[in-house]
């Protein structure tokens, strides 16, 4: 993480030169460094199941930003990740994952 991500190749020259026919377009090599994605999930039952099955693909920040939905909805979302996106989610962990999300969202709602 640490402060601003840097552009390694800041000069992305696009030479719009020439006047006769087509302008010349120059493509340069480009490289960027993206910020890290820290794992920051509140403590609670099922947290480990979420870390093991969800956070490799989903930012914790994104998980925690979702609107409050039912346990059944979270279970169906986890099932969709297996069926559609072939995510290596342990099916036996789904109740724990759904339980964690419901509890975290309820705690968030109480805090509002």
């Amino acid at each position: 993480m640490r402060a601003a991500a840097t552009i390694l190749a800041p000069v992305i020259a696009l030479a719009l030169a020439g006047c006769e026919s087509q302008p010349q377009v120059t493509f340069t090599d480009v490289s960027v460094t993206l910020p890290d994605d820290p794992i920051d999930l509140p403590e609670g039952p099922g947290r480990q199941a979420v870390l093991e099955n969800c956070t490799a693909c989903h930012s914790p920040s994104t998980l925690l930003q979702q609107p409050r939905v039912s346990r059944e909805k979270w279970e169906s979302i986890a099932a969709k990740m297996i069926e559609v996106y072939k995510a290596p989610v342990d099916e036996a962990a789904i109740p724990a994952i759904a339980g964690y999300m419901v509890a975290v969202q309820a705690a968030g709602a109480d805090a509002d």
Binding site: M1, A3, A4, A5, T6, I7, I12, A13, L14, L16, Q22, P23, V25, F27, T28, D29, V30, S31, V32, T33, L34, P35, D36, D37, P38, I39, D40, L51, E52, T55, A56, C57, S59, P60, S61, T62, L64, Q65, Q66, P67, R68, V69, K73, I77, V84, Y85, K86, A87, P88, G108, A109, D112
Partner: protein, 409 residues
């Protein structure tokens, strides 16, 4: 995390073990995110959670709402739209479905043109740039899910406010000139695009999208390399992206690497199963309904001069300003609407049918609170923004009139 980035760049897929190891390592290494984030912005999402950080910083980006760090989802704060019609590159929203490479070697990049073509070709960037006349189009790039977070009842997915949109001048060659390099065969129906972003897991659907052949052959559908006169930033799809003016940005495939001409329907996941909405209006209780692909954009308008709840001077004239768009056709008119009244707005300079256009209206005097006012855009085909949300389970194509209340004081 570094390992994971390296793996995804090299195209290797993650195994379950690697996924767990990656998550565990990051958990140990990472301190508390929220405390590092500093400045937050409130998107006003009904029922919350509504606060979003404006950090961490991303390369070439300034003060963006961070909806997701990996793969990046960055939203423009609405203040970006207060002036002009062009969205600066450092304020344009960013949306990736899957991780993308973080480095591009220009000399090695190729665009494969294949499928139902006379002679498949593999084109260099110079081949693309010399494929035809260079064309500039000013067009709005808007996520199909823009405004999803404002849906009531709420729906899951990226919880965008209304800032997953922007308007830029795109430069490139016509897609049809690139297709001509390979020669489209008789019987072609659609043209499909793939980029360098690939799924993390084996078997997950690649993010590929297709458009009908007649759209692909339009004079303003581009293979673009520049955005507002600069090379496409990597986060916007360097070196090349598709531009389909009037269509939602899901079709504007970034880091273009493959163009495939199809002869039938497209049964790939992101066309046949995802990015779809009900064929007819539904209620949140409806479960079984036919769906259609989201394609063209409907008209929208926004008040940018004032925020909800802001005070305005009682007895004084009031000027309101903002932006509007016609969607897939030119903007025809914008009206300021309240409860039981409406006033036509004056339109600003016309930058083309697919661009934002500014509007402005002056009320002679504020006599009371301006409750639930909004602006309503209509386009040249007669499409008008509706009073009620066209609710759908994925929160696509929001274009309900956005209303605010201004308090006379």
């Amino acid at each position: 995390m570094a390992d994971k980035a390296t793996q995804s760049q090299s195209g290797a897929r993650l195994t379950r073990r690697a996924l767990i190891a990656g998550a565990g390592g990051a958990a140990l290494a990472a301190p508390v995110l929220a405390q590092e984030l500093g400045r937050m912005i409130d998107l006003g999402l009904p029922g919350g959670p509504s606060l979003r950080p404006l950090q961490p910083a991303f390369p070439g980006k300034r003060d963006m709402i961070v909806q997701r760090i990996r793969p990046p989802l960055l939203e423009a704060p609405m203040g970006v739209f207060r002036e002009g019609v062009i969205t600066p590159n450092d304020r344009m929203f960013v949306r990736w479905n899957w991780d993308m490479p973080t480095a591009i070697t220009a000399a090695e990049h190729r665009v494969a043109v294949g499928g139902a073509v006379k002679a498949p070709v593999s084109l260099t960037l110079d081949d693309i740039a010399s494929a035809g006349e260079h064309v500039e189009v000013v067009a709005i790039n808007q996520c199909a899910g823009n405004g999803r977070g404002l849906s009531e009842p709420r729906v899951t997915g990226t919880q965008w406010g209304n800032g997953a949109m922007g308007c830029a001048k795109w430069t490139g060659v016509r897609l049809k000139d690139v297709l001509a390099k390979a020669g489209v065969k008789e019987g072609a129906t659609r043209v499909r695009f793939a980029g360098l972003d690939v799924p993390l897991t084996d078997g997950a659907p690649q993010f590929i999208k297709s458009i009908p052949l007649d759209i692909a052959m339009r004079d303003d559908v581009l293979v673009a390399w520049a955005m507002n006169g600069e090379a496409l930033p990597l986060l916007h799809g360097y070196p090349l992206r598709i531009v389909v003016p009037g269509w939602f940005s899901t079709y504007w495939v970034k880091m273009l690497s493959t163009i495939e001409v199809l002869t039938g329907e497209d049964d790939s996941y992101y066309v046949a199963k995802s990015y779809r909405m009900p064929a007819r209006p539904i209620t949140p209780e409806d479960k079984d309904f036919d769906t259609v692909s989201i394609t063209t954009m409907p008209p929208r308008a926004f008040i940018t001069s004032h925020a909800d709840g802001e005070g305005v001077a009682l007895g004084k004239p009031l000027t309101l300003e903002g932006i509007a768009m016609g969607g897939d056709a030119a903007l025809a008119r914008v009206d300021l609407v309240g409860e039981g009244w409406e006033v036509p707005c004056e339109l600003g300079p016309d930058e083309g049918p697919y661009a934002f256009r500014r509007w402005r209206v002056t009320l002679p005097a504020v006599t009371q609170d301006l409750a639930k006012i909004g602006v309503r855009a209509a386009n040249a085909t007669g499409a008008v923004q509706p009073d009620a949300l066209n609710w759908n389970p994925s929160g696509y194509a929001r274009n309900v009139i956005e209303r605010i209340t201004l308090v006379a004081q």
